[in-house]
Structures are given as C-alpha cells and as structure tokens.
C-alpha cells in the first residue's frame, strides 16, 4: 500500500485517501501550437521505469492537488511537494541522486 504525505495538511495518507493524476510538470500547448507539440502534451508521457514525478490529490482529506516523486519500479516514495512548483525541489532531487546514481536527472 502506497503512503504519501500531503504537503499541505501534513497527513500521512494511504492510497485509498488519494487519487492519482498522472505525470507532473507537463508543459501545456494549446491553440496555435504545432501538431507535434500538442500531441506530446496530450499523449506522449515519459512513462519511465524508475523515477517518476506525478500529481496526486488528497481527495478524501484537504482536497488539494500536490506532487510526488516516486519510483515506478519499486514503489519507493522519495518525497512530496506543493503543486505550485514548476520543477522538483533541490532537496528531493539530491535525495533521488543519492539513492539512484544512474538516474539522469529531471528534464
């Protein structure tokens, strides 16, 4: 069972209290953008086997969206952080690098 700490209310919530929202830090492309950019934004997810940054909602708690860094190959959680972040915070990146030296970093 997955347990994520909500960065807003501090609750250590288990999975049934949360709803998953897919890949985080997507760059949005709307009207006027190229077909390739729009397709990549809509459909082409990174889907890595390993470190993944993703959106979650504390659905049966404070109701807020937040972000999490998690490994899809082991389900290990590296940390959670507020949805207002445009990229993963430095302390979480450092923690992942220490644990996964082969990880190529956030891009």
């Amino acid at each position: 069972m997955l347990i994520l700490e909500c960065p807003y209310c501090g609750v250590k919530a288990e999975e049934t209290e949360l709803s998953p929202g897919g890949e985080a830090h997507l760059k949005r492309f709307g009207p006027g953008s190229s077909d390739a950019d729009f397709e990549a934004y809509m459909f082409a997810r990174k889907n890595p086997k390993g470190v993944h940054f993703e959106r979650w909602r504390h659905a049966y708690g404070c109701g807020k969206w937040f972000l999490a860094a998690r490994c899809t190959a082991t389900l290990e959680v590296f940390g959670t952080y507020p949805a207002q972040s445009s990229e993963p915070p430095a302390d979480i990146v450092a923690k992942i690098k220490a644990k996964r030296p082969e990880w190529k970093g956030f891009s």
């Binding site: 999975e15 397709e39 082409a44 997810r45 889907n47 993944h52």
Partner: protein, 415 residues
C-alpha cells in the same frame, strides 16, 4: 516434430511417456536474422508464426527477457470477444476470434478454445442505449451479437441476481461465440510451431539497446550480446515505452498494473462469461472450477506486476450484489500484470520513426483475445513494410491527427 494425436497418446501410454519431445528448442543466438521480434508473449510469437506461415520468412529470432508467455499473456483472464463498437476494432478482433476457432487444429496444439458465450450486462440506462448501439454496429460489421432481456440473462446465468437494488440487470449484449481459451497454451502452441519452422526463441535474454545506421535499424544489444537484424518488431506490452526509448522515439502509452484473482475451485455453476462494466468487474469459471475474476486497472504508473489491495476489494464488493453466492467463496490467488494503456484505449500496430522498426503495443487490458489477428496483421506489416487493411488505422500517428479509435467511451473497463 512428432504430431500430437490420440494415436500419439496411446503410443506414449505404452511407452511410459518416455518418448515425448521437447516442445521447442533453446538455441544460442546466431549473429544475425532476417527479422527479430522482441517479446515472446502471445503477440510476439503469433507475429513470428504468421511471418513464417503467411510470408515464408523463417530466419527469425524471438527474444524474451524472462520466459515465454510469462508476461501478460500468462496473467490474463482469457476473455475472447469481438463485440467492439468501432469498425477497425471489430475487424481485427473478429479476425482474431475467427482464427481462434480453428487455432488448435492449425497449431496441432490444444489451446482449449471454449466459445461458451459472453454477456456484457447493462446495469444503467446509459449502458442499455450504448449496447443497443453496439449490437446495431456489430450487425453491420458482420459480428454476430444480440441484445437479450433480463429473463434470458437469468436463464443463461442461473446464479445471477437480476433485481439489484443498486444495479439491477436491464439486459445484456450477448456474443454467443465469445468465450475463453487456455492462455499458456496459446503461447506454447505458437512457440512450438515457430520452433518447428526453424525459428530461434531465445529466453532469459533482455534487449538493452537498439542499434541503427542512417535511420535504419541494424540490430539489438542484448544480455547475450549483439544480434543483427534487417527488420525489428517491438512487441513488449507494458515495457513498450522503455524499448521505444531505446529505439529513439516516445509512445502515447502509460504502464499500469491490472490485477485478477481466482477463488477456490467449486462445482460447475456458470458456463458463460459475464462482464459487468458499470461496477468494473467480470467473472467466468475455469475448467478447474475456480471462479476467475477481474476488474479495472490501478490508477498510477507502475512496473511492479503487483497492484493495490483495495482494487481487489472494490471489484469483489461490486460483484457480490450481482453474484450473491461469491460472498461465501475463499479467494485463492491474486496477481498483477503491467498493461500498456494508450490515449484512446486502442492498440498500435505501426511503422515507427526508425526505419525497418515496427511496433505492436497498446493492447492494454484486452489483448489476449486479439493475439491471432494481431500477429497476422503485424506479420503482414513487417513482411511488406506497409500496413494491410487490418492494421492501417492503428498507426501511432493517429494521436497527432486526431483519428482516434475510441473504445474507451465504447467499452468502459472491458477486457
């Protein structure tokens, strides 16, 4: 290869069963092949089989990181149906279903195809309208399905409760020639036939890189060394994104866990397959007597082949109203597979940005039923370099162009 038959069985019975041959060889890889297929699941093996049978291409290797049939092909709940809404889906799934009818004879291997009939229950008025529409579409497509009343549902499935109260049964979409087959046997039967044609099935060999020159594939790096090839087929289901990245492109695919479970074996009580898409559950009874049960996918990206327990609980909780007798059953085993979900819930059978490299993926939660048809279409694509009518609409560029084959609206959870 010695053929399997009733005479072979009798001969071996007198021979203390000492004379059975190995069903397939375990060769060491050659330096290069005319075609290499990554992934010895049902789709990869069927692709190789039809490359040999339909196109005479037999200098082929199938490379598998684990054991053949150990991916989703050996983890699924074996439902076979072709009652899809969209024309391209109905065409390829019906091709597959009709090939299943004679696959045991074709492969000389008993895949235990059991066209026992399949019901998709309508438990809301929205579903009633949806399935009536599907029946009309199917009749135009040449797929034999019909709409049946709650009374007929009860006659076909005596253990069902049609009265609700939450989700009363309002009717069902019935495909009399839908059913099940033995999943392992499908992989094993194709593997034996491929090996007999002289193809190399290389197990315990992981592809770790794709090599190319001037935009064309030249071979694959593996844990058993470099293997050259003129054509490459990527058929790795949940790992499609990972292998596509090795080949230098990204796919509209996400990998998630899908779980299933079986009960303790009980006496025969249900001789059809029943799917209840509103409550996200479905059930059939195996020949061993176990009730085989599945539900919807877990919600987050996952490569661990195990899912979250609460999804199992949700599936059973929902099914108990419709099948009250299962509340007394002990559940024996539960497992997960990693399914490759596309944006429109339809598969991809396509050329790729890399020359001579082809991909077959995105079958997600429902590709077991498609194995023969998918292999047929993929072999055609790999042999000719261009898709035939079965594969044409399933190219990977449809997402860019908005040509979706939208089965997510049509089928809900369905497998």
């Amino acid at each position: 290869m010695k053929r399997y038959s009733v005479f072979a069985l009798a001969r071996e019975a007198f021979n203390h069963h000492q004379g059975w041959e190995r069903a397939w060889k375990s060769p060491t890889p050659k330096a290069s092949y005319d075609a290499v297929i990554i992934g010895a699941g049902g789709h990869g093996l069927a692709t190789a089989y039809y490359l040999g049978k339909n196109h005479g291409i037999r200098n082929v290797a199938i490379i598998e990181k684990g054991w053949l049939g150990g991916g989703n092909t050996g983890r699924n709940t074996t439902i076979i149906r072709s009652n899809y809404l969209q024309d391209p889906s109905a065409a390829i799934y019906e091709k597959a279903r009709s090939l299943y009818e004679t696959l045991s004879q074709d492969l000389n291997y008993n895949i235990m195809f059991s066209p026992r009939g399949l019901l998709m229950l309508a438990q809301t008025h929205h579903e009633v309208r949806g399935y009536l529409r599907t029946v009309h579409a199917n009749n135009l497509q040449g797929v034999a399905t019909e709409w049946i009343t709650p009374e007929r549902v009860k006659a076909l499935v005596p253990i069902i409760n049609i009265d609700g109260p939450r989700y009363p049964i309002l009717g069902a979409l019935y495909q009399a020639r839908g059913g099940t087959a033995r999943h392992d046997a499908v992989a094993w039967g194709y593997a034996r036939a491929c090996s007999e044609m002289g193809m190399d099935i290389i197990q315990q060999c992981e592809v770790t890189g794709v090599r190319s020159e001037n935009g064309k594939v030249t071979g694959v790096e593996t844990t058993k060394g470099f293997i050259g090839t003129r054509k490459l087929g990527i058929v790795v289901a949940g790992h499609s994104g990972q292998v596509a990245e090795m080949a230098g492109f990204r796919l509209p695919v996400e990998s998630m866990a899908l779980q299933a479970l079986v009960s303790e074996p009980i006496k025969p009580c249900m001789d059809v397959v029943v799917m209840a898409n509103t409550v996200h559950g479905y059930m059939s009874q195996s020949d061993k007597g176990e009730m085989v049960i599945g539900g919807g996918t877990d919600g987050f990206n996952n490569y661990t082949q195990r899912g979250s327990f609460h999804h199992i609980e949700e599936t059973l909780r929902a099914l108990v109203e419709t099948f009250p007798m299962i509340s007394r059953l002990k559940m024996l085993r539960q497992w997960g597979g990693i399914v490759d979900m596309t944006g429109d819930r339809s598969p991809i059978i396509s050329k790729t940005p890399l020359g001579n490299c082809f991909i077959n993926c995105g079958w997600g939660t429902g590709g077991f039923k498609a194995i023969p048809g998918s292999g047929w279409a993929m072999a055609d694509l790999m042999a000719r370099g261009e898709p035939g009518p079965l594969a044409a609409e399933f190219d990977m560029w449809r997402f860019r162009e908005g040509r979706f084959i939208d089965e997510s609206v049509a089928a809900g959870v369905a497998h």
